[in-house]
């Protein structure tokens, strides 16, 4: 409804009237140039005739005429900017998107009233009050004092029924609008007071509000306020606020973002990942708030999810352990109860075997919480972990999406203005230390230099052979590194193999493998970093990416070998069971429980044989969980030792040097390495979650400690990297990598669940032969329908169909993106043409003034120009410039001289004199 009002207003006020006005106005200067469909110039003449003083010599300053050409070209800029959405719509409402107007506050020739248009994109029309303002400006009404300005805005807002509506939407909308006004706070406060008064009187005037409506209003208002306060408290008391400020102050946003995003990845990440898009319009405000709210719920759920496995599962299983203590089955796996050695903290074996740390401890039981409510551990285990993964997945995917959109897609099609961007957005406003400021100066300098270098190098085409050599060198290096990775994987496999066949006590032997693996993961990446320098990647960023990729591959290899090894240990001894069950019906397994138990024992026997006599836990999942535990702990210890070393190194060098030179000896803080380390931890967490359900807790603890240690060493001992760190883009890459590692982990689990054999421990022990069979068991025991649905979804035809639809969607999106890029080009071109028109016109005016041209007679004009067409299509606009002159020459736009800048027409300034 309001949009209708809008259309009427806009269409009515400026265009038609003005068109009429132009013919009647006394603009003799321009009458010799006959323009067809020249809306811009129409506005120009209107303004010139009406309030030239205010527009042109505002603040006593003379402004060039073309500065104040109103909306057309600005609009196109905006369109090029927002052309991603619904370009056509914009074309047909060419007026009034934005307006500049004289105002006491603004010192220039004008300002945006608010960020309205840009902010809400083009999919929503500007709200009514905004249009009222524009209309007033176009009529030449504008306030002289601040009070008047306030009154005017207030008036306009009161007139806007959306803003003044009684429901919560109106209230919220009002808040948003007020906030986004780019006016001084004083004005805003004044406005708010006025509007609130008006609102309350408005409401009391309309006493017809029903009680239910009022109730609804107050409830939703209360809900909004509650949410707001929750959000604010979360923001205010977010972890490490002070520390982050300190770090950002000394090191700039790059390192800050490492600390912020890296460390908060585990528990707290999403508090920052709020949806950035603000509410778009009145009716969608609620929706976006919902989204906002949703993402925050995810954030809180993330936090909860860390504690979920232990609260939901551990406690019940404890009780179940107690209740089933006399059960023979459960007691078998806890033979070595009791003694607790100090070494257990490191190995995670021994005493820890019995705790809820590992998979094997959870039982295949359901028990009664209260008399009627039973609690099934396998179900709980499965679904909680599934939930944890899903939440992690959504959270990270959401973040990657937002980052990718902001940092890649939005920029991709428009890479023209790199220098501008660098110049205007390089300075980091969060820097508070002298040292950091100096460093930033240098880094900006370096970056600009690099950019210029790239810019200059662009023209240099390499010849074919050097290209071939470059590629082959890279290829060889890749092959070398991949073989290296393969060898490493093989070596770790052998190590595990010998470990398991050896006579293992609970001694340090257990620690050898994780120690070596951790060392590999710590130090091999720096080797990669060295290697990459010889490969001839020209751009710094590519080097970083290649190293990243290799490091991730390394981590995946090691972890993959680990999981694969244990998995094979579990499956290899019993090849017969892996072959049979896939094809057979599920019903069979429901009936014969005895069979299952037998085969379970069979497996465990085999396992026992494989694992050696000393290893009395027949549960490969638990062993694997232990491995993960060890990896986590050892990694932590080694990191600690490393930090100690850097500290000692620092102290040692400090002794020998004078104070001023200390800075040179500081080690660099390599963000990418440290971030990779965090990702490694994260991957460990995901890979180990199934086998070691309490690992999130461990990781959380570890990361909290690491945060403080790193903060200390960063602030005291290390110095920031001088190389420019493109925080935003690299952050995206990191998150993408995290996502990849998550997906891989989940896929691995999927494989294990579907193909792996259950062992005789853990929550799935009686569901043979695969883990996933427990799900079938559930579905069979409850409802058949779910099974039917699942099996229908898994049919190849359906899967293929879904894939096909996805492909089509991707194709559509891609071609749409291309179309928009094309559109942007067209618009840019159009803009350029218009500017040339204008320049040409001005030049002609000058000439005419000097008496070099004569006005064409109306008859000649009519003869020379084709009849005006009625509709204005987007592309026709570009072709509209053809002028007729007294010498009967038709100058098409393209043959006009092409000015780079208006300063080429220095005498065009004198037009101002005509206007006043």
């Amino acid at each position: 409804m309001a949009s209708h009002v809008y259309a009427v207003e806009v269409e009515d006020i400026p265009l038609n009237e003005v068109n009429y006005e132009q013919t009647s106005s006394s603009d003799e200067d321009y009458s010799h140039v006959h323009l067809r469909r020249a809306r811009t110039d129409v506005h120009l003449s209107q303004r010139r005739s009406q309030d030239s003083i205010r527009y042109h010599s505002y603040n006593g300053r003379e402004h060039h005429l073309q500065h104040t050409l109103p909306s057309r070209h600005e609009e196109i800029v905006t369109m090029a900017h927002t052309s991603v959405e619904s370009i056509e719509m914009q074309f047909y409402e060419p007026v009034g998107r934005r307006v500049r107007f004289a105002d006491d506050e603004c010192r220039g020739s004008g300002e945006l009233l608010s960020t309205h248009t840009l902010h809400y994109g083009s999919e929503h029309r500007p709200s009514a009050w905004f249009n009222t303002m524009i209309a007033r400006r176009r009529r030449g009404v504008s306030p002289n004092t601040e009070e008047e300005a306030v009154d005017e805005i207030a008036e306009a807002m009161v007139g806007d029924e959306k803003l003044m509506s009684d429901d919560v939407d109106g209230e919220l909308k009002m808040r948003e609008t007020l906030r986004e006004l780019t006016k001084p706070l004083r004005v805003k406060k004044e406005l708010r007071r006025k509007l609130t008064a008006r609102r309350s009187s408005h409401r009391s005037a309309a006493q017809t509000i029903s009680r239910i409506k009022y109730l609804k209003y107050s409830i939703s208002m209360w809900w909004y306020k509650l949410r707001q306060s929750v959000r604010d408290t979360v923001h205010d008391y977010s972890l490490w606020h002070k520390e982050l400020k300190e770090i950002e102050g000394t090191f700039g946003t790059g390192v800050g973002s490492y600390f912020r995003c890296g460390f908060l990845l585990t528990p707290q990440l999403l508090a920052h990942a709020r949806v950035n898009d603000p509410p778009s319009a009145n009716n969608t405000a609620a929706l976006v708030f919902l989204v906002n709210d949703g993402s925050e719920m995810i954030a809180s759920a993330m936090r909860v999810s860390d504690s979920l496995p232990n609260t939901n599962i551990a406690d019940p299983s404890l009780t179940s352990q107690k209740s089933d203590a006399d059960d023979a089955d459960s007691s078998t796996s806890y033979t070595d109860n009791g003694q607790f050695g100090a070494l257990d903290w490191l190995t995670g074996a021994g005493w820890f075997n019995n705790t809820e740390l590992y998979y094997g401890t959870y039982l295949n039981r359901s028990f009664y919480l209260v008399t009627n409510l039973w609690y099934n551990i396998p179900e709980a285990y499965f679904f909680v972990i599934l939930l944890a993964y899903i939440i992690y997945f959504i959270a990270i995917r959401h973040r990657v999406n937002a980052l990718y959109k902001n940092n890649y897609i939005d920029i991709e099609h428009d890479v023209s203005a790199t220098f501008v961007r660098k110049v205007f957005s390089s300075w980091d406003f969060s820097i508070t230390e002298r040292k950091a400021a100096k460093l930033k100066h240098r880094s900006i300098y370096n970056e600009l230099k690099e950019l210029l270098q790239e810019f200059l190098n662009e023209e240099l085409e390499e010849d074919f052979w050097s290209k071939v050599i470059g590629w082959s060198v890279k290829f060889v290096f890749w092959v070398i590194i991949l073989t290296l990775l393969g060898l490493l994987g093989w070596a770790t496999y052998l190590m595990l193999d010998s470990d398991i066949n050896k006579d293992i006590g609970n001694g340090f032997n257990l620690l050898v493998y994780p120690l070596i693996v951790t060392c590999i993961i710590m130090f091999v990446p720096s080797v990669f970093g060295l290697i990459v320098k010889f490969e001839g990647y020209k751009i710094q960023r590519h080097r970083i990416y290649v190293t990243l990729m290799r490091t991730i591959l390394l981590e995946l290899t090691v972890l993959g070998v680990l999981v694969g090894f244990w998995f094979m240990q579990a499956t290899d001894p019993v090849p017969s069971t892996t072959e049979t069950p896939v094809t057979t019906d599920d019903d069979q397994y429901d009936d014969d429980d005895d069979d299952d138990d037998d085969s379970g024992e069979f497996i465990s026997e085999k396992l026992r044989r494989a694992a050696g006599p000393e290893k009395n836990d027949d549960c490969w999942e638990t062993s694997l969980g232990q491995e993960f535990y060890r990896l986590l702990i050892i990694d932590f210890l080694i990191a600690l030792v490393m930090h100690l070393f850097t500290l000692m190194f620092f102290v040692a060098t400090c002794k020998n040097t004078t104070k001023g030179k200390v800075h040179q000896f500081l080690l660099e803080f390599d963000i990418s390495r440290n971030t990779l380390h965090l990702i490694y931890n994260q991957t460990l967490l995901w890979a180990g979650l199934f086998f070691c359900p309490l690992s999130p807790l461990i990781v959380l603890l570890k990361i909290t400690i690491m945060f403080y240690i790193q903060k200390f060493s960063v602030l005291k001992v290390l110095r920031p990297d001088e190389r420019p760190w493109r925080a935003a883009q690299t952050e995206t890459v990191f998150f993408a990598l995290t996502l990849v590692s998550l997906v891989l982990a989940v896929m691995g689990y999927g494989f294990i669940l579907f193909r792996g054999n259950t062992s005789s421990c853990g929550p799935f022990q009686n569901h043979e032969p695969h883990y996933i069979d427990f799900l079938w068991d559930i579905t069979q025991s409850n409802e058949q329908i779910i099974l039917v649905i699942i099996s229908w979804i898994l049919k190849p035809g359906v899967v293929a169909g879904i894939l096909g639809i996805l492909l089509i969607l991707v194709y559509c999106a891609k071609s749409m993106a291309e179309g928009r890029a094309e559109m942007i080009k067209v618009l840019r071109r159009q803009l350029e043409l218009e500017v040339r028109d204008r320049a040409f016109l001005l030049q002609l005016t000058e000439k005419y003034k000097r008496g070099e041209h004569k006005v064409a007679s109306p008859a000649q004009v009519r003869a020379a120009s084709p009849p005006p067409s009625t509709s204005v299509g987007p592309h026709e606009l570009t072709q509209r410039a053809s002028f007729v002159f007294s010498d009967n020459k038709v100058h098409p736009a393209d043959s006009a001289p092409r000015p780079r800048h208006f300063s080429d027409y220095s005498d065009s300034h004198s037009l101002d004199r005509y206007s006043s």
Binding site: L112, S425, W427
Partner: protein
């Protein structure tokens, strides 16, 4: 946090919250900062008039940790003070942090960034403000200067802009 709210009445705080992007806690933090630099002339209980009339000169704003290393600090203070003298009242001070807070939408940030770089305050970035190369790139409509919308158009595409244009209070 009831007892901390002494400097403002509940109504004032609500007002500030409604008009800025700051949270309650941030407003109080800003108040503490302002108290620090105002040499004890800032009253215990802040009235409305006081907040909009009592101004701190640039010389003391200069010493603020958040600003002291910023090469643009004078400009920052200037664009938020009404008379261009770079001395700020509390309202203006708060407004500054509001714009630099992380809740502020990037368009708002961009508008203020434009004002920041518009050194001669004529509403355009022209040759007095800029180097030639930069000018040519940012100038979409080739009129020899960068207007506000051109600036916003360009700057919003820069991934580093929003994180960098941020002061943690």
């Amino acid at each position: 946090m009831g007892n901390k709210v002494a400097a403002f009445s509940e109504e004032q705080l609500n007002e500030y919250q409604a008009c800025t992007f700051l949270t309650r806690k941030n407003i109080l933090r800003a108040e503490r900062l302002f108290r620090q630099i105002s040499n004890d002339r800032w009253p215990e209980v802040v009235t409305r008039e006081c907040a909009s009339s009592f101004s701190v000169p640039y010389s003391s704003l200069d010493s603020l940790t958040e600003l002291k290393e910023n090469p643009f600090r004078r400009r920052v203070c200037q664009i938020f003070s009404t008379d261009g003298s770079a001395s700020l009242t509390f309202d203006q001070f708060l407004e500054m942090f509001s714009v630099f807070s992380e809740h502020a939408p990037r368009d708002i940030k961009a508008i203020y960034a434009f004002r920041l770089y518009d050194f001669d305050s004529d509403g355009y970035l022209s040759e007095q403000d800029l180097l030639h190369t930069v000018l040519e790139e940012g100038d979409v409509d080739c009129d020899g200067r960068i207007s506000q919308s051109e600036f916003i158009h360009v700057i919003l595409k820069s991934p580093d802009f929003v994180p960098n244009f941020h002061i943690r209070i």
